[in-house]
Point group: C2
Chain length 206, copies 2
DNA sequence: TAGATTGTTAATCGATTAACAATC
DNA sequence: TAGATTGTTAATCGATTAACAATC
C-alpha cells in the first residue's frame, strides 16, 4: 500500500483493467494473473502488478488474482460501486445517440437528466426522458446534487454550458465539443474528439 | 530536425496543436508563440518547442510562429493536407450520429461509405449516403482503396468487422466498441470509450 | 515438494523542464 | 539597440521494466 498521491497515468489504466476483468468474468473465467491480463490488454505484467500495488495487495502468489474480488476492489477504488446520475446537455444527433445508449447502467452511470435550449425539442421525449429546458439546468443540477455532466452541444456553446455546470456544483465533465474548456482546477474534464484520434493515426499512413 | 523515430506521445499532441492553431486563425490572430499556445492548451512552452523541433524549425526568434504557416506544416506532417475517405460500419444511434456529423470535412476526412448488416436498414439513406450491405464491405474497401474505418457495431461484432477490414487492406481503425481489437502490428487502432473516461474521473470524486 | 506468481526494490529508460546562446 | 522568443543541450523528473525473495 502506498499512501502517496497516485500518478494519474496509473488511474487512467484502472478502468481498462476493470473492463477486461468484467469481460473475463462474463466468459466464465474465475482467476487471472498479471501475465494473462497483460497479454489481453497489451501491456507488461510488471506494470499491472506495479499499478495495483499502489492500492494494496489483491493477489496470491502462485495463483494470481480472483477476478470477482479484483473487480470489487477496482469498483471501490474508481467509485463505481454506486450509480452516478448524469446530466446530458445538447440533443443533436450525438446527444441523441448517447441518451439511447444502454451501456452506462452496468458500469456506474445513468443518464438522469437531458437538456436542450431548442424550443422545438424541449418537452419532447427520448425513451422515457423528457428533454428539459437548458434554462433550468443550473437549478436542477443543484437541487439534485448532480456531479457529472456530459456536454454534446457545439463548440461555440460548450464553454457556456461548462460555466453554468460548474456554478451549479458539477465536478466532472465529459466534453464532446472540440474545444479546451476552462474550468477550476478542482473540476475534472475529459474530452472525446474523434478528429484528434483520426489525425493521430493518419500521421502513420504513408 | 531529428531523423530518428518520433515518440508517439509527441505525435499524439500534434492534432491538438493543429486544432488550437485553426481556432486562433479563425479568430483572426496571425502569429503565436510557444508560450501563448502552451497557455491555451495547458502545457509548457518548452514542451511545444521541443515537440515541434522533432520536425524542423518553424518559428522565428523574437516573433514566434506564423499561424498559417505552422498549420500548413502540421497538416503536412499529419497527412491531413488531403481528404481521407472513411468507411463507417454499424448504423445504430451512434453510427447515425457520426454519419450526420459535418465536422470531418474540413479536417482531412470524409465519410464515404456506410455499412450495416440489418436488411431493414440496407438500401435506406442517411443524408445522401445509401446504407450498404456489410457483405459487400470487403470488396468495396478493396476496390476503392479505403484505408480508414470507423467501427460502431456492438462489442460482440467489432472483432469480426475489424478482421474483414484488415483483410481488405485497411490500416487505421477508429473503434467505438468497448473491446480491445486484435490486429496486425502494422494497423493503427484508436479507441473511443466514454465509460473509461467517466470512470477515470469518478476516481477523483469523493 | 516443485512450479507459479505475487509485491517490491533497484536499474533502466524515456519524457519534461530549465537554461541559454543565437537572432529576429 | 533592447526585448522577445526560438531551437537545442543538459539536468531533472517520473514511469516502466527487470529481477527476486516470499509464499501460495
Amino acid at each position: 500500500m502506498d499512501s502517496n498521491q497516485i500518478p494519474d497515468i496509473v488511474v487512467e489504466r484502472l478502468p481498462l483493467y476493470l473492463q477486461t476483468l468484467q469481460r473475463l468474468l462474463k466468459e466464465g473465467q474465475e482467476t487471472t494473473s498479471s501475465k494473462d491480463l497483460g497479454n489481453r490488454i497489451g501491456i507488461s505484467a510488471a506494470q499491472i502488478r506495479k499499478d495495483l500495488s499502489h492500492f494494496g495487495g489483491f493477489g496470491k502468489q502462485g495463483t494470481g488474482y480472483s477476478i470477482k474480488y479484483l473487480i470489487e476492489k477496482l469498483e471501490d477504488i474508481l467509485n463505481v460501486n454506486q450509480v452516478w446520475d448524469i446530466a446530458l446537455v445538447g440533443v443533436g444527433f450525438l446527444g441523441h445517440a448517447i441518451a439511447n445508449f444502454d451501456g452506462f447502467q452496468n458500469h456506474g452511470f445513468k443518464i438522469a437528466y437531458i437538456f436542450d435550449n431548442d424550443p422545438g425539442k424541449i418537452g419532447t421525449k427520448i425513451g422515457n426522458h423528457e428533454i428539459l429546458d437548458s434554462k433550468k439546468m443550473k437549478e436542477i443540477i443543484k437541487k439534485n446534487k448532480i456531479r457529472v455532466v456530459m456536454i454534446t452541444v457545439d463548440a461555440e456553446h460548450a464553454q457556456d454550458v461548462a460555466n453554468h455546470a460548474v456554478e451549479a456544483g458539477v465536478d466532472a465533465i465529459l466534453n464532446y465539443a472540440p474545444v479546451k474548456l476552462m474550468v477550476p482546477e478542482s473540476v475534472q474534464v475529459q474530452n472525446i474528439d474523434p478528429i484528434l484520434k483520426l489525425q493521430h493515426m493518419t500521421y502513420y499512413l504513408r
